[in-house]
Symmetry: C2
C-alpha cells in the first residue's frame, strides 16, 4: 500500500496521533499491486464494469458541459454540491420510492467521504457503534480513526439478524450504554452478498426507534439486481435516518460522487465537517454526472451491466459448485458484486492468500471485513464476480479451489494427527 517502498527509519514515530494506531491499511489496497500482475486473476476488487459505458455519448456530454457551463466547469463548487445535481438525485431517489427534496441531501466526494464525515460528526472515542459482521472494510476505515467500539451483528440469508441485534441493544441498554448508530448495507451486502428481507427491515426500524439509535442505510448496490424481487429501501419506510447513495456503480467511480440523505441538522454537521475535509467536491464531475443522468439512457446502460453481472455471478456460483470442496459453503446473491465464502473453522484465509497468489488468484480475506484483526472472519473470504468474464471467473475459482485443496490436505493430516479439531 505504501507509495514509498523504502523505509529505513521514521523519526516522526513518536509524533503521530493515537488514532493512527487503530488505523489499518485495507487488504484490498494491499492486493492491488499483486493483482495487477497480468497472470493473476483478481477476485478482490469491487470495481463496476465501466466498459459498458457509452463512450461516444460521454464524450459528447463532456463537450456539452464545456459549452454550456462556462467558467463554473473549472471553479470551486458549493460545499454541499451542485444544486442542479441535487435535483437530479432527488429523481433517482424517487425511483427507489424515497420522496425527498434537494434540501434533504448533501453531495460528498464518493459515499466513502460520507462515511468519514458521519464518523467525524458522531463518534467520540469509546462510543459504541453497530455494524454487520462482516461489513464493508471501507466503512471500518472511515470509522476507526474516531476510535469507536464496534459491535458486529451476524447476517444470514435474510440479512442482519435482528434477533442478535436486539440482544446487543438490550445488553448495551442494561449496562447503561447506548450505540451512536447502526450501520447497515441491507441490499447485496458488502461483503456478504445477502439482502435483508422486508420483515427484517421493518424489525430493524422498530428496534432503532425503541432503543433510540440512529440508523444508517448504505445503498451502493440496490440497482444492481439481476434476480429475485426488489425490496424497498429502508429510507422509503422512515424519514428520520441516514441514507447513502453513490454514482460509482450506476455511472463511474472516477466521478467520486456520492450523497447523503439525512435530517437537516445532521446535514449541517456534515457540511461543516466537509469544509475541513476537502472544501467542496469537483464541480466538473458534478456537471458531467448531471448531464449523464439527464441526457443519456443510463437505465439501459445499467441494465446491460446487470446482464453481465448476472452471467458472471452464475458462472462463479456454478464454478463454486463444481470445484469447491464439500467443507466450503457460500452465499447466493441476487445482485451486487460479491459472494461470501465460509470454510471450516480451522481454516485461515490470511494464510490461504499466499497459496492462492501462487496459483494466480486473489480474494479478500475475511478478517479485513471485521473490526479487529485476530478476531472473527479468519475462515472466510470475499470473492467478487463483478469485473471478470465468466471464463476467467471459472478459471479463478478453479485455481482458488486448488489452493484450498492444497491447504485442506494439510489440515486433514493435522486433524488425523489430532493436532486440530474438525
Amino acid at each position: 500500500m505504501s507509495d514509498s517502498p523504502y523505509i529505513l527509519f521514521d523519526e516522526w514515530q513518536g509524533d503521530y496521533a493515537r488514532r493512527t494506531k487503530v488505523m489499518t491499511t485495507s487488504a484490498v489496497r494491499d492486493l492491488f499491486a499483486a493483482a495487477s500482475r497480468s497472470d493473476v486473476i483478481s477476485l478482490s476488487g469491487g470495481m463496476p464494469d465501466t466498459h459498458v459505458l457509452p463512450l461516444d455519448q460521454v464524450k459528447k456530454l463532456t463537450t456539452y458541459v464545456y459549452n454550456h457551463y462556462g467558467d463554473s466547469v473549472f471553479q470551486y463548487g458549493q460545499t454541499g454540491g451542485l444544486p442542479e445535481l441535487k435535483e437530479e438525485i432527488v429523481k433517482l431517489m424517487a425511483e427507489l420510492g424515497v420522496a425527498i427534496e434537494p434540501r434533504d441531501l448533501f453531495i460528498t466526494t464518493g459515499a466513502q467521504q460520507a462515511l468519514s464525515l458521519i464518523g467525524e460528526s458522531f463518534i467520540n472515542r469509546g462510543d459504541y457503534i453497530i455494524t454487520e459482521g462482516p461489513t464493508y472494510l471501507g466503512a471500518l476505515n472511515a470509522f476507526m480513526p474516531f476510535e469507536p467500539r464496534i459491535i458486529t451483528v451476524p447476517f444470514d440469508d435474510e440479512g442482519m439478524r435482528t434477533d442478535a441485534l436486539e440482544e446487543v441493544l438490550t445488553k448495551l441498554a442494561r449496562a447503561g450504554g447506548q450505540a451512536k448508530f447502526i450501520y447497515t448495507i441491507p441490499t447485496f451486502q458488502n461483503p456478504g452478498g445477502v439482502t435483508m428481507s422486508l420483515a427484517r427491515r421493518k424489525r430493524l426500524l422498530e428496534l432503532a426507534h425503541r432503543f433510540d439509535v440512529l440508523l444508517i442505510e448504505d445503498d451502493p448496490y440496490s440497482r444492481l439486481r439481476f434476480a429475485g424481487e426488489a425490496v424497498p429501501a429502508i429510507r422509503s419506510l422512515d424519514d428520520n435516518m441516514i441514507y447513502l447513495g453513490t454514482v460509482s456503480k450506476i455511472f463511474a467511480p472516477s466521478m467520486r460522487t456520492g450523497w447523503v440523505v439525512a435530517p437537516g441538522p445532521i446535514l449541517d454537521k456534515l457540511n461543516m465537517a466537509k469544509q475541513g475535509a476537502d472544501l467542496c467536491s469537483s464541480n466538473f464531475n458534478h456537471l458531467l454526472c448531471l448531464e449523464y443522468f439527464r441526457q443519456s439512457d443510463w437505465h439501459a446502460t445499467l441494465a446491460e451491466a446487470c446482464g453481465l453481472y448476472r452471467m458472471r455471478a452464475e458462472a462463479m456460483l456454478a464454478a463454486l459448485e463444481r470445484y469447491f470442496p464439500p467443507e466450503a459453503h457460500w452465499t447466493h446473491p441476487e445482485g451486487g458484486f460479491f459472494v461470501w465464502v465460509t470454510l471450516p473453522k480451522y481454516f485461515d484465509t490470511d494464510e490461504l492468500l499466499a497459496t492462492a497468489l501462487e496459483h494466480g488468484v486473489t480474494f479478500v480475506p475475511g478478517r479485513g471485513c471485521y473490526p479487529r484483526r485476530g478476531g472473527l472472519g479468519g475462515n472466510s473470504m470475499r470473492i467478487a464476480f463483478c469485473y471478470e468474464s465468466p471464463e476467467r471467473l471459472e478459471e479463478a475459482i478453479k485455481r482458488l479451489a486448488e489452493a484450498i485443496q492444497d491447504r485442506l490436505e494439510l489440515y486433514r493430516a493435522f486433524i488425523k494427527a489430532g493436532v486440530i479439531r474438525e
Copy 2:
C-alpha cells in the same frame, strides 16, 4: 452555509461528537450566498481567474484522455494518485528548485484534504500546533476537528516573525511541552499577502530543527508572483519536512487535485488516512491534469493570469490609497490573491460586514482567520483582488470605504464622548 434552511428541532443534538463543538462554519462559505447577488461585489473568495484557460485546448485534451486511457478514465484510482501525474508533479517541483522522486509525494483531493489528513495523522486532543496569525481559515477548519491548541505567531512584511516564534517554542519547551508542527504559508500568505524573506525561512528551519518540530509549508500561491524577486521554497532548503502544492491556482480548482511532499513514513500514514477519507481521488481529473501539464502551454496561460492579477492588485492598492481613511493600513503583496487590512483596535469588522453588504460589497472578517472567535483579528479583514476587474475592484473599495466611513463617524463620536479609547 446550511443546505437545509429550516431547522425546527434537532433530535440528534445529544449524539454529535464532542469535536463538532469546536468546528465552526467558514465565514467565506456563509458569505457565498450573499455574494452571489449580482449587485454585490465580492472581495471574499479566493477564486483564481479560470477565464484565461484555453477552453478549446482543454476540450481537445479531454477527448485525448477519453481516447487514450480507455476504461481507467472511469475507474477507481490508486489511493496515492495516478503514477504518471506524480511524475509530472516531480517536474513542477523541480522548477521550484525542489528535487524529488515520485515516491516522495502523494496526491490528495485538493491541498485541503492534505491539511485534514495531516491533522488526523498528527494531532491528539490538546496537542499544540503553531500557525501564523492570521492564517488560512481552511487550515483551521481542517485541524480543529482533532482539537489541538493552536498558538498563532504574527507576521510583518517579511512574513512570520521568527523572533516571536522562538519565544513561543522556548516557552513551550520550558513548560515541558512541544508543538506537533508549525504550519506556514510563506509565500503570498493567506490572508496576509506577505512573503517570508529568505533569511526568515532559514531562521524558521533552524528553529524547527533546534526544537525538533515538524514544519509544514503550504504553497498554493508562489507561482502567482507579479512583482519582486522569487524566494526559494523552504522545501528546497530542507528535505525533512512537509510541502503542500495544488493545481487549483495553476490549472483549475474543480480538478480537486493537490499534493503532499513528505518523508516516506509520513506519506504512509496519510495514505492510510486517505483510504478512510475518500478511498482515492478522481482518476478522470488526474488524467486531465496530466495532459494539461504535458500538452498545454500552461506556463503562458499562467503568465497571462498573473498579468491580470497584477493589474487587479494595482487597482485595489490604488483604490485603497484613494478611498480608505488614514486610520486604515494594509499589506502590499507582490503576488497571490489577498490584501490584509488593519483598522483601529476599536473597530469590529464582523459588524462592518453587515454595513458593507448594504453598500454592496463583501470581505472576510479577520476573526475567522484566527483560531478562536472573540479573540484576535476583530479589527482586520481579508480582501481578495484575484477575481474582479480593476473597475469593479475600484468600485468595491469605494463602497467598502463608505461603509468604513459610516462606522468611523460613529466610533469618532464614541471617542469624543469617552465611551471608547482611540
